[in-house]
């Protein structure tokens, strides 16, 4: 890296050229990890002695749930960067990430429901984790709706950044409120540093591969979508200039 600073990628042109160079690697890594992880997980792991083969939905459920939260955290970080340093790429990356977050939240909710049906005997329970994800989904919806509603991109970036900040605080508050409100049926975290609580190794390794696949997929998608947002801004800038010259 040497004298190169991370902030150089805040320049849209620099970001575009670099992201175009590295994108194929992320697409490839995502494809390899997802194919290997899912096939390994679905076909080459034993059935759980209690849950049977339904446990295998874990390979979609856990990674998407993790990404749903991590994407919000990433949006929070990029929003803060926009507020503090006003790098446009940062704001656009937050905008690009939000719809991916929505999809991840929906996958987590849907796979949770499908898993919950045989386990708990119901598609939906007001379990704290499920409820928290439902609330997270509402936060994502509001965030995206606010971006879409405002015409001036800088105004939209400012307002959505503040909403993301305030929303994060309220999301954490909601999480505690929901925990207090209903203690829940959901099993504990599937992955934790505490070895005793972890799922068995035989499920654990393919799960890690799947999580890596989701992470790579997200990085590829967010780079790609940020590039699209940058090009949209470029079109806007060109149109503005043409209008000024007319």
């Amino acid at each position: 890296m040497g004298s190169m600073s991370l902030w150089e990628y805040a320049n849209p042109k620099k970001f575009l050229t670099t992201s175009e160079r590295i994108l194929p690697f992320f697409w490839a890594a995502a494809a390899v990890c997802l194919v290997v992880g899912l096939i390994w997980g679905f076909f080459f792991t034993p059935d759980d002695f209690r849950q049977g083969s339904t446990v295998k939905i874990i390979y979609l459920h856990v990674p998407s749930a993790m990404m749903a939260i991590n994407i919000w955290v990433m949006m929070l970080v990029t929003s803060l960067i926009w507020i503090v340093r006003r790098h446009h790429v940062s704001a656009l990356a937050a905008r690009a990430a939000a719809p991916i977050g929505i999809v991840m939240t929906l996958i987590a909710l849907a796979t949770g429901a499908i898993w919950g049906q045989p386990m708990w005997g119901t598609w939906w329970a007001w379990d704290p984790r499920l409820t928290s994800f439902l609330i997270l989904f509402l936060f994502y919806l509001g965030y995206v709706a606010l971006w879409e509603a405002i015409e001036n991109p800088d105004t939209a970036a400012d307002l959505t950044s503040v909403l993301c900040l305030v929303g994060s605080v309220f999301a954490i508050l909601s999480r505690y409120a929901v925990l207090f409100w209903n203690q829940g049926l959901h099993q504990g975290a599937s992955l934790s540093l505490d070895k005793e609580e972890n799922v068995a190794d035989v499920f654990y390794y393919p799960l890690l591969v799947c999580i890596a696949g989701f992470v790579f997929l997200f990085i590829a998608l967010v780079l790609y979508r940020t590039g699209t947002e940058i090009r949209a801004r470029r079109i806007r800038a060109l149109a503005t200039r043409t209008r000024a010259q007319a």
Binding site: I135, L138, F139, L141, G142, A145, L146, A149, I150, T155, D158, L159, V162, L163, L165, V166, G167, F170, A171, L173, S174, Y176, A177, V178, F180, W181
Partner: protein, 218 residues
């Protein structure tokens, strides 16, 4: 600041000011509930605290889009922004005026509507206490939502979409106080959480509201 508060109150009480609309809405929602769930008094007793809280929340939400939009449309907001008042106090005063004209009447009306819903006797005092503690938070959070959407043409629906998730913690703890109180259970924890949320948003959220309002004014 007092001048602004008095003006907002006066505007609310004058014709077309919208005072009482929230209250009427609260009344109608509460009256409609027995029609939709059936007249069994046992069931109504169980759900009464939650219905009262939900009704109050929706009534608060209903009046939010007038909170800043009217001052925005007639240019007062621009003029206020050039006045010696900091925007932070302007949004705080606006929230206070909203609470006095919307939240407070709801708090006072809740026991009467509790009768209609067959609220358990120990519940009355807790419904009033929880609403008195919680509705200021609803007004302050709502002011933030109103400040976010003030420049938008059809901001009303978006405002609800943005504000409702932010209302979740207040609703959970507030309704929990009322529910536990009505069942004669311990209420300390949710009561403290509710008070904490209200104190926190009153102290901090006006800064966020003023920041987004500044962005919207430029």
């Amino acid at each position: 600041m007092i001048a602004l508060l008095m003006r907002d109150l006066r505007l609310a009480f004058r014709a077309g000011g919208g005072f009482g609309l929230g209250l009427a809405f609260f009344l109608i929602v509460t009256v409609l509930v027995p029609f939709s769930v059936g007249p069994q008094s046992q069931l109504l007793t169980t759900i009464a605290p939650g219905i009262l809280w939900l009704g109050a929340l929706l009534a608060c939400l209903l009046s939010l889009d007038r909170l800043l939009a009217l001052d925005w449309e007639d240019g007062s907001l621009d003029l206020l922004a050039t006045a010696p008042l900091p925007l932070e106090s302007i949004v705080s005063v606006k929230a206070l005026a909203h609470w006095l004209t919307t939240g407070l009447p709801l708090v006072l009306a809740a026991p009467l509507l509790g009768v209609l819903l067959n609220l358990a006797p120990p519940g009355y005092v807790w419904v009033v206490i929880s609403l008195a503690l919680g509705t200021p938070a609803l007004s302050v959070i709502g002011t933030f939502g109103a400040a976010l959407t003030v420049g938008l043409k059809r901001g009303g629906l978006l405002l609800s979409l943005l504000v409702l998730p932010l209302y979740v913690p207040t609703l959970i703890f507030g309704a929990e106080v009322a529910r536990r109180g009505a069942q004669g259970m311990e209420v300390t924890t949710p009561l403290l959480m509710l008070a904490g949320i209200t104190a926190g948003v009153i102290a901090l959220l006006p800064f966020a509201s003023a920041a987004v309002l500044r962005v919207n004014l430029r």
